[in-house]
């Protein structure tokens, strides 16, 4: 979106946050239900948004229904604040929600909308994380009928999903799911936690921040309320593993930009085929880099 472009609010009569008040009210009610039944995919009437389905319309509707003047919003896409998707969504909110601040700093935000990552820095009780979801139902790979999937969810019957994991171990000696790892919320419903990497799954468990998940195209909202159990689906004797960032010598790789050794790294392949690794969370990378620069200056 052209930053110089302004929505013609007056002529079109858009209300605060683009959505009309009835839409927001319905979404908020749905949210209350989703929070009351942790992990349950609550259906709602997903609205048309001025962007294509699949560009985060589910997350955006949640954000627009929740945000108010005084809130500070951060939008990230795969950890980065400056990718096209994140920039456009942020700009859309800036245009339609007068009085709302935006930020790139995780700790400043009250509301964080994210595509496929949970920020590195631990979230607090004062923050709400909104995740954009393409496919809300983890059972869709084993059961095509939604009616039957609903019964399976209701009865907590995830044996067929576990069978899929069993087959993975048989074939590849490990569970090969890299993203969207099925996760059991509060001991009952298993959710698709959106395409966050395995690295982020343990951070849903007993999270201090409220985590909301919105699927615009599939018209579902679900939630991981604060301080709620979120356990990845596993076998008793095959523990859940997160991504391994060790090099050939067994050393933990560091971010090539900020030097952090405790963050989720993106692999970059240069034109000559050489590989480097860099923090996926741009704010965390900047912060670590700033601290390190400050230290170097002090030493100097």
């Amino acid at each position: 979106m052209n930053p110089g472009y302004e929505l013609p609010q007056d002529e079109a009569g858009y209300s605060f946050g683009f959505l009309d008040e009835f839409a927001k009210r319905e979404i908020r009610r749905t949210l209350l239900k989703a929070i009351s039944i942790p992990g349950y995919q609550t259906p709602y009437a997903s609205r048309e948004m001025p962007m294509g389905r699949g560009f985060g319309t589910g997350g955006l509707q949640l954000t627009l229904s929740l945000i108010g003047p005084g809130d500070t919003l951060k939008v990230i896409d795969q950890g980065a604040d400056d990718s096209v998707n994140a920039v456009n969504l942020r700009h859309f909110v800036e245009l339609t929600c007068p009085g709302v601040d935006t930020t790139e700093r995780t700790h400043e935000a009250t509301l964080i909308q994210s595509r496929h990552r949970i920020p590195e820095r631990a979230l607090t009780e004062q923050q709400v994380l909104v995740l954009q979801v393409p496919y809300p139902d983890p059972l869709v790979i084993v059961e095509p009928s939604e009616a039957r999937r609903k019964v399976m969810h209701g009865e907590g019957d995830y044996s067929r999903l576990l069978t899929k994991l069993y087959e993975d171990i048989v074939q590849f000696d490990e569970i090969t799911i890299s993203h969207r790892y099925p996760t059991r919320i509060n001991g009952h419903y298993v959710i698709d936690p959106s395409p966050i990497p395995r690295y982020d799954v343990p951070r849903l468990h007993q999270s201090r921040a409220l985590v909301l998940l919105g699927a615009g195209r599939e018209k579902k909202i679900y939630a991981v309320p604060p301080y709620t159990d979120a356990m990845p689906l596993v076998f008793d004797d095959v523990p859940f593993r997160i991504e391994d960032f060790r090099d050939g010598q067994g050393h933990r790789r560091a971010c090539s930009r900020c030097g952090a050794t405790d963050s989720f790294l993106d692999e970059m392949i240069a034109d000559d085929g050489s590989k480097t690794w860099q923090c996926s969370d741009s704010d965390y990378c900047n912060e670590t880099l700033a601290t390190r620069t400050a230290q170097i200056e002090v030493t100097a």
């Binding site: 019964v151 209701g154 009865e155 019957d157 044996s159 067929r160 576990l162 069978t163 899929k164 069993y166 087959e167 171990i169 048989v170 074939q171 596993v234 076998f235 008793d236 004797d237 095959v238």
Partner: protein
Amino acid sequence: MKKILEVRGLSKIHGQGCAHCYESTGPEMDTNLCPHCGSVVAAHGVSFELHAGEILGIMGESGSGKSTVVKTLFFDDAPSAGEAVFFDGEQQRSLFALNAAEQRWLRNHRFGMVYQNPHLGLNFNVSAGGNIAERLLMSDLTHYGQIRERASMLLARTEVLPERMDESPKQFSGGMQQRVQIAKALATQPPLLFLDEVTTGLDLSVQARILDLILEIQQELRTAMIVVTHDLGVIRLLAGRTLVMKYGRVIESGLTDQILEDPQHAYTQRLVASAL
């Protein structure tokens, strides 16, 4: 011998049903299609009991309602009327009064089913071992190593080569698929097993071996079984007692050798006389 199952007045109507359905159908009327409303009376007034470790045969032609009986007992289908009590240790469970979750629990823990069509009993998208794993997972065993061990033991018992356990049953012969189904059904060591035309469509030599296997298992595990078939040979080999069904009604029941050698009902006499 302990009673394990008691069925009373089991009925199943496919269609809307009307007040005349029962009186207008059955062997005397020579139809199971109600002339008043067009509903199919698949079963009516079926009553029997089953003791622990016993094999009961249900014999009849296609459309006699024999499969309907086991389908309702296995909760694949809901009955229109009737009662079935399952005696589970000290507990008595009225099958049709249970809620869906309780029924699923019984299916997974206490009952086993082997279908004529392996596609109904097996998931062809996962391996043979995975099929057994699924059933074990349903009964809340979530230890990968133990699941592997149990699955390979069960497949060995049903004479499926353990080295083929990670192959899809798609690549198996019909007889092998039935063996995998039997292994899957037995995974939770259920006290009650339903066998619906399990050897129909198999080669005679394969049939004989499957029947052998079923009998061996019955003797080893003392599993009670209901065997549904139109094949008198299967009934003779497996069942101690037999029900004969026609147009949804039980027209005759008795000791299997008596049913086969001294049938009382005209229909059974014809059935026995026409057997090869």
